[in-house]
């Protein structure tokens, strides 16, 4: 796994992620284990995710990345160890995260009885904003995601890509500092998926969010992540890589092969 440095090429060690000096930890897994009966989904995992990072958690189906996602979002408690998000426990202090965490799911999960704008307003309704403010914010984000003219359409009248845009708008509209994304573009065609993830990464950076992006696609992880955490079964960190601007296309191609081999092993 330790590749030699050739000419200007970066070695795997050069690309290994190390936390920036003084960076604030937003999400911390401390020796976390999650068992479902006899099945160990996550085994003694420790991982820090820093504020402002766009991290791709990459792994094959069944490697435990969705279990990690559910523990970060507070939908599931760890069996052993601690999960802390912004210094609190997401499972025990579930309501504390109101307005601080937003999720983009694998499927759009739009409420079929609400129009696009009302779906985007859903998260804002929990924050106690006035109706006018909610609508203004929802329209802003729908417009930003290219859905002008479709604000009052019901989900059944929108294409898959448009529906996922509404769900991204819904997440951004709450202005939560932490965004969690569970393979949000996996059900879309390649062209739409690539366009949306580029837009998504741009919006995350422009709005200074911390984002955790779960994916099983190496391409998607490369397109989005500043940092790629490659997971092996059972949710064990196989590689933890930085994807900064100094990583050349050649290095990326090489690292892609390494990730592929790691996931395949």
């Amino acid at each position: 796994m330790n590749l030699a440095k050739v000419d200007n090429m970066l070695s795997l060690d050069d690309m290994r992620f190390s936390a920036p000096e003084g960076a604030e930890v937003e999400i911390a897994f401390q020796n976390v284990t999650k068992r479902f009966g006899d099945l160990v989904a996550v085994d003694d995992l420790s991982l820090d995710i820093h504020k402002g990072a766009l991290v791709a958690l990459l792994g094959k189906t069944g490697c435990g990345k969705s279990t990690m996602f559910n523990m970060i979002s507070g939908l599931m408690a760890p069996t052993d160890g601690r999960v802390e998000v912004m210094g609190h426990s997401p499972f025990r202090e579930f309501d504390w995260y109101r307005g601080k965490m937003a999720i983009v799911f694998q499927s759009d999960r739009l409420l079929p009885w609400r129009s696009a704008v009302k779906n985007v307003e859903l998260g804002l309704e929990t924050l106690g904003l006035s109706a006018a403010e909610r609508t203004e914010r929802a329209l802003y984000w729908l417009n930003a995601l290219g859905l002008k003219g479709h604000e009052n359409d019901y989900p059944h009248a929108l294409s898959g890509g448009m529906r996922q845009r509404v769900s991204i708008s819904r997440a951004f509209a709450t202005d939560a500092p932490l965004l969690l994304c569970d393979e949000p573009f996996s059900a879309l065609d390649e062209i739409t998926s690539r366009r949306l993830r580029t837009e998504f990464a741009r919006l995350v950076r422009e709005n200074n969010k911390t984002a955790v992006f779960i994916t099983h696609s190496i391409d998607e992880a490369f397109d989005i992540g500043d940092r790629i955490v490659v997971l092996k079964r059972p949710a064990e960190i196989a590689l933890d890589l930085r994807m900064s601007a100094d990583v050349s296309d050649v290095d990326r191609e090489r690292i892609r092969d390494t990730i592929h081999d790691t996931l395949d092993a």
């Binding site: 995260y97 109101r98 307005g99 799911f105 999960r109 859903l122 309704e125 009248a157």
Partner: protein
């Protein structure tokens, strides 16, 4: 020019479709009415009265307050009984969905209640209670409660788990969770439950009034039976049918408004 011709053609098509729809809607009733009218020519009025007499009685009931108040009383008993059964059924349904113990205790009990005939509840009510209105409401609630409860349980258990999780991810208050997720998700099945129970309730209320009341459509039917007045019996029955149809129509209108978000297949 061709546009105008095509517009005229599509207008003519839509008029033709409406007429055809109205024809097939009316056809079975016209057929029954015609057969009845023919029978009235050959049989005595206490068996097959002329439809003219029947409609004269219908008009008489609708325009005479002392008679029409009986129709209203029955309608209010149906709606009151259904509302009571629905509210109680909703509470029990929520308890069954959220508590294993409630499920174990209530589900077999309600299933047992479902097997008790409506007439038995009428007899029990007459033995147990004195107040006429309370008797009728009790009978209505007991006969429709199991169906309402099971329909609410089915609706709650059938809610989309992905959508529940999505709404929960915004950490809503209990009230917001109910209004944004639970209520719209269960509403279609609740409306269906009302439609189904409305038919059952209209049949039960007549039996309850027939045996244990001094007013209402059921009581009036008993009077007509004692007088061998078939025209009157038909006229009072039609009042109840009109009420059920009217309320079904109101529910359908509400359904169309509330579920306007649903997609429609062009082929269907």
């Amino acid at each position: 020019m061709s546009d105008i011709a095509s517009d005229r053609q599509s207008y003519a098509d839509s008029v033709f479709d409406t007429v055809r729809w109205a024809f097939w809607l009316a056809a079975p009733f016209v057929l029954i009415a015609a057969a009845w009218q023919v029978a009235s020519l050959f049989f005595p009025p206490f068996l097959f009265p002329s439809l003219i007499d029947v409609f004269a009685r219908v008009w008489d009931i609708l325009t005479t307050w002392s008679q029409f108040s009986s129709v209203l009383a029955t309608a209010m008993r149906i709606l009151g009984g259904l509302a009571g059964a629905f509210l109680l059924g909703a509470v029990l349904g929520v308890a069954i969905t959220n508590s294993r113990m409630a499920d174990r205790l209530l589900t077999p009990t309600l299933t047992f209640f479902q097997g008790i005939p409506a007439l038995s509840w009428v007899v029990f009510a007459i033995i147990w209670f004195h107040g006429v209105e309370f008797r009728i409401i009790f009978i209505m609630v007991m006969t429709t409660l199991p169906a309402f409860t099971f329909q609410v349980v089915g609706a709650l258990r059938g809610m989309d788990k992905d959508l529940l999780e999505m709404v929960m991810s915004f950490r809503p208050s209990r009230w917001k969770f109910f209004t944004a997720m639970v209520l719209p998700a269960v509403l279609p099945e609740v409306i269906t439950a009302w439609k189904v129970n409305l038919g059952n309730a209209s049949r039960v209320v007549v039996v309850a009034e027939l045996v244990g009341s001094s007013g209402g459509v059921g009581y009036q039917l008993l009077q007509q039976q004692q007088l061998f007045d078939m025209a009157g019996a038909l006229a009072w029955t039609l009042q109840l049918v009109f009420f059920v149809l009217l309320f079904q129509w109101i529910l359908s209108q509400f359904e169309q408004f509330a579920f306007r978000y649903r997609s429609k297949s062009e082929r269907s």
